[in-house]
């Protein structure tokens, strides 16, 4: 099955290794991957900050680019949530029934990375080897909007060599929240300090999640604290193998 990768704008720019990891995992499982170079952004930052007008052309662009894609894989639960939770409403507000139709047809083909592996491909062991202690931050969008449940945990349990440690107060928001981290920088920092405290309590070497946005925020604090804990997207853990491939 041909999987079309929507890398998302910030992964493309800041976290290319996550994209490479997704490609590696999917190809290892025998799927062909395509990357449509016309893609840009789902419009989440604009929409969630109140810039609805600016988000609309980004939605149209996304719909045009992926109109005929078989399966769309997105390694970011907040971008998937943007598409699932808001595109229908945005399309309805446009008053154009053709756009609504386009969104309705597209939605069943949109998968977050762990959903694609577990729900669509029914795989929990992707043949990964990662001899480290890991804790999982279940990001808010993955938990409460996508309701991915234990899919990322199932995938982590399938990794050889990996020791998974439960994160205390896991369901609490890390305080990123997109522009929230800038507009309410102090409150965001206070929320973040609790999240990093919980992560450090686990003693894990690595904190993983389905969202690099949260991880950029959490990892930024851990880096500033010189805490000796690294953040890695789930795809990068699943891409690791005994051959020690370097992304």
């Amino acid at each position: 099955m041909l999987v079309s990768l929507f890398i998302t704008c910030y992964n493309d720019t800041l976290f290319p290794n996550t994209g490479k990891a997704v490609v590696r995992v999917l190809e290892r499982l025998g799927h062909a991957v395509e990357f449509r170079e016309a893609q840009t952004c789902c419009g989440q930052m604009h929409y969630n900050t109140g810039y609805r007008r600016e988000a609309i052309p980004l939605m149209h662009h996304f719909l045009d680019v992926f109109q005929d894609a078989e399966i769309i894989c997105i390694p970011s639960s907040s971008c998937v949530a943007m598409i699932r939770d808001h595109y229908l409403k945005m399309a309805a507000a446009s008053g154009d029934s053709a756009v609504q139709d386009q969104v309705e047809k597209l939605l069943p083909r949109v998968f977050e990375f762990s959903e694609l592996l577990v729900d669509k491909f029914h795989v929990t062991d992707v043949g990964a080897f990662f001899p480290h202690t890991v804790t999982l931050h279940p990001s808010c969008h993955s938990l409460r909007s996508l309701q991915v449940g234990d899919k990322p945990v199932q995938l982590l349990r399938g990794v050889r060599g990996l020791t998974l440690i439960d994160l205390p107060e896991a369901a609490e928001c890390c305080g990123f929240g997109g522009t929230f981290a800038i507009k309410n920088a102090e409150v965001s920092a206070a929320m973040l300090s609790e999240k990093t405290r919980c992560i450090l309590d686990t003693g894990a070497e690595i904190c993983t999640a389905l969202d690099n946005s949260c991880l950029m925020h959490i990892g930024g604090a851990l880096s500033r604290q010189l805490a000796g804990v690294r953040c890695l997207h789930l795809a990068e853990i699943l891409a690791s193998s005994e051959k020690g491939e370097v992304l």
Binding site: P16, A38, G50, R52, E54, R144, A185
Partner: protein, 476 residues
């Protein structure tokens, strides 16, 4: 018409108020402890109900139906309440409601009132209006009493003194009740409050209450509470005035079945409140001789006219969203500058004021969705927050620098060529700030990020560049 929500029009914006409160470690500790306790209790009594999700849906549908036909149900309530011997007054805004209350009290030549369970009275600034008219109000709900004696502001919808611990309360009681000594056990504090309040219950002849619910078909009013002080207020005085926001209506007595399950479990984590008072008009030889209901609009009909956000009025003021909110749990309620704090306050306060004030509140959320998950009437608070943000931007009230950045970003993201160029530009722009792939300091608003976190620098090669090179065969 002048809609007023406490002092919210003059409150500092959320980030500024929050910054100040984050420095108060005692307050943060108190808020954390209290919300943890209520959350744990709520989770256990919600878990034990197999039909909790069906109950939530029923609650949502009943509220939505009532609000769609509010004109009908309000008049039905007025008729039933009047038939049962009550008097119904209609108040368009805070000033009208305050004036009605004052006139009723003055007609009895009373100079004191006892009050219970009426956050709506804080919304309209009733205590200040009463004092200006020479009438002394006494709060009788224990938490409201602590707030009143401490010359403080409520910080939680259900537990207004949640930001205070028992030692602080002991201090307030000793000072304001003129006690030379007082223990610090909860029993000691409760006994002091009891002695102080009993005397008021027996002496004061007028009471003002709020309402958790108003039943249209019977004209009944319901309050639920833990202490019994509300029961005293609604049964002992000669005159009772009940202030009700018009959104508190439910159609039938039977609908109480749904809300008297949803409310206590969500609010205090109890299966049932210790005191559930339901009364209808006046009863000969029992309870108040004179009963007045004031139906308050104060901006509610304008919220009702907003298709995107009218579900806000479904709220039954349980406070579950506050306890669940990671933002509220850091700052407490005072940061919201309104009697309505937390996620529900962040959507209710600005809307009641027609989005003229409190515009920073819709942004006081990371959109984590914890509020929506616990809301007993399924108000999609994150979605309404986003809608209200849209209104702030479309009114032209967003900061100029933010608008400029957002417009530039939208321009760059509309076309892949422009996006690639922007990525290249970012790589150049970060040069003065980047070392070893990390940015430790950024100027301006972005400095809020680097104050406590490092920022990942833009790597040399974007994903799309890697892909292009790979497909050209340069890379495996």
């Amino acid at each position: 018409m002048s809609v007023r929500v406490g002092e919210a029009a003059r409150a500092p914006d959320f980030p500024r108020a929050a910054q100040h409160l984050l420095g108060n470690t005692q307050l943060r500790h108190n808020v954390r402890q209290a919300t943890n306790v209520i959350r744990r209790k709520r989770a256990s009594v919600v878990e034990e109900l197999p039909d909790w999700q069906a109950l939530r849906e029923a609650g949502r549908q009943i509220k939505q139906h009532t609000l769609r036909h509010l004109d009908f149900y309000l008049e039905q309530f007025e008729l039933a309440c009047t038939r049962a011997g009550g008097h119904v007054h209609w108040a368009r805004d805070a000033d009208e409601a305050n004036q009605i209350v004052i006139s009723l009290i003055q007609a009895r030549h009373a100079a004191e009132v006892i009050k219970v369970k009426t956050m709506t009275s804080d919304e309209i600034g009733l205590n200040a209006a009463l004092e200006a008219a020479g009438i002394t109000p006494y709060e009788t709900d224990l938490a409201d009493l602590i707030v009143q004696l401490g010359e403080d502001r409520p910080s939680h919808i259900v537990v207004p003194a949640l930001h205070r611990n028992k030692l602080e309360i002991r201090q307030i009681f000793m000072e304001k009740m003129g006690l030379s000594d007082l223990g610090d056990r909860p029993e000691d504090l409760t006994n002091a409050a009891r002695r102080y309040l009993r005397e008021k219950f027996l002496r004061v002849s007028v009471a003002i209450s709020g309402a958790n619910l108003a039943v249209a078909d019977t004209g009944s009013v319901c309050i639920v509470e833990s202490e019994g002080n509300g029961r005293m207020c609604v049964s002992l005085p000669e005159m009772l005035i009940t202030l009700i926001g018009i959104e508190k209506m439910i159609p039938t007595f039977q609908d109480l079945e749904v809300f008297l399950q949803l409310l206590p479990r969500s609010a205090t984590g109890e299966r049932m409140n210790p005191y559930n008072s339901i009364w209808t008009g006046v009863t000969p030889d029992d309870g108040p001789r004179e009963f007045h209901v004031i139906l308050l609009d104060n901006g509610r009909t304008s919220v009702l006219s907003q298709q995107e956000s009218r579900d806000t009025l479904n709220c039954i003021r349980c406070g579950a969203c506050l306890n669940a909110c990671p933002v509220y749990r850091q700052t407490g309620g005072h940061a919201y500058g309104s009697v309505y704090a937390g996620p529900i306050g962040a959507i209710l306060t600005p809307q009641l004021q027609s989005m003229e004030h409190s515009q920073s509140l819709p942004y006081a959320s990371s959109l984590c969705g914890a509020c929506y998950e616990v809301c007993p009437v399924k108000i999609n608070i994150p979605e309404i927050l986003i809608d209200l943000r849209g209104e702030v931007v479309e009114r032209g009230d967003a900061p100029f620098s933010e608008r400029a950045v957002m417009k530039a970003a939208a321009f760059a993201l509309e076309k892949p060529g422009r996006f690639s160029a922007a990525q290249a530009l970012a790589r150049v722009a970060q040069v003065p700030f980047e070392r070893d792939g990390v940015i430790r300091h950024l100027p301006g608003q972005l400095g809020g990020w680097t104050a406590v976190r490092d920022l990942t620098a833009v790597p040399k090669r974007s994903f799309r560049q890697w892909w292009r090179e790979r497909t050209r065969g340069n890379l495996a």
